[in-house]
Symmetry: D2
Subunit: 134 residues, 4 copies
């Protein structure tokens, strides 16, 4: 696998933490989603705008291995890479604590395009990611 192609620096907010002062598991899915959206925006894609055009990018499957925990106020790096497998875009998304580069979660997220209600293939997206999808 190639190096990561996108990296977003973020920081834990206290309201994201649970009774053990560590980030609640479900919040990582928010971090992953936000990272993908920032990646798309950096490539000129607006998910809401695509939706208006009848193209929805939909999460078909998510697999997260929780390796360690982030605590309140900690800074972290949310990194991603993407490959295409058939109609699926497979996002490899890993989160590392910033100060010691410790791996926090390791995730794969399968995204598919639903075009006017049917599973399909979006040339708009393929063209934008062309350099990464070879």
């Amino acid at each position: 696998m190639k190096d990561y192609i996108f990296e977003l620096p973020m920081k834990v907010r206290s309201y994201e933490c649970d009774f053990e002062s560590i980030v609640n598991n479900a919040v990582y899915q928010n971090y992953l989603e936000h990272t993908r959206h920032e990646f798309l925006i950096a490539h000129g894609l607006d998910v809401v705008e695509l939706h208006r055009q009848g193209i929805d990018t939909v999460v078909a499957r998510i697999n997260i291995a929780f390796k360690s925990s982030l605590h309140d106020n900690e800074e972290f790096l949310s990194k991603l890479n993407v490959k295409k497998e058939g109609l699926k875009y497979v996002f490899y998304q890993d989160i590392y604590r910033k100060k010691d580069e410790k791996l926090i979660i390791k995730a794969t997220v399968d995204i598919v395009c639903i075009i006017n209600g049917k599973l399909g293939n979006s040339d708009i997206i393929d063209n934008l990611f062309a350099e990464y999808l070879q």
Copy 2:
């Protein structure tokens, strides 16, 4: 002020709690919103459907006094009443712990109607609430 006109039984979910095992303050706003929506649904109003008709019910102001805390798993009652003041619907929304009827929060929420982008008055809503708005 009259008695409450609507009451929704709810229960704290663990992911809604913070590092002290008490419900995070912002979550109460979710509880209040959910209670209003259930109240509207009980009267045949669907906020998403109204939105499609160009009528948006918008929160203009919220005032919450936090009197005590709810803990993980605790059952509570979310109660409301409503009055009309000019164009505003003022919702009085209080939350009580179920087991001892302790007052947890005391809130007022001002709702206004935005009709096709402008502050307005909705007969649909007034008619549905007629019995409460005298």
Copy 3:
């Protein structure tokens, strides 16, 4: 695989929905967590209390296949079963829309016990689940 051993009826709240009026993906992880906690409580286990005894039940991996979407106000059933594999408790957690029994998500969640900071085996939990873990 045996039938489900626990089932929790729930209902979508409007603040859990995104710009398409469907439940945000990360919210399903909250639903799954809440269901496991209700299952544990129904068996007399309190996760916060276990934490105070030095026993933490920790999610090691989560795998969710998103099959269909829940919409605002829809009622659903969150069902689970559990098996033990080595030190792991594997929770099979599926969510069905109530009205048509449509499968919404299919998930497996691996839980491990961390006892005083180390991966371990909890007799307290094994005994409580004895009937399901054979």
Copy 4:
């Protein structure tokens, strides 16, 4: 009232938006809380650490006027000032959209100190904020 004494640049994340693609009302309370915590951290105060010392800073009342809406991806500035009234710290917290400096919300948040379970006065906090509390 003096100028703002603290300002935090933030950006809307898509999972914070509701079916109208605007930030859900309850999320603003998260923004306000995160801003106060960053302000406290900038002054060397850690809320979780204070909690361990028996000092809890508790929200007693929140009053938010919603003036306009933030949309997905918009950048905003979360600003605050603080005054002391009796035992209360009153935080004046306003949020402005970055691109046009439009006022989005105007809030006051009353914070009190609970010291070993009782309403009290914390010299630690007063000393740190001394320059602002005259």
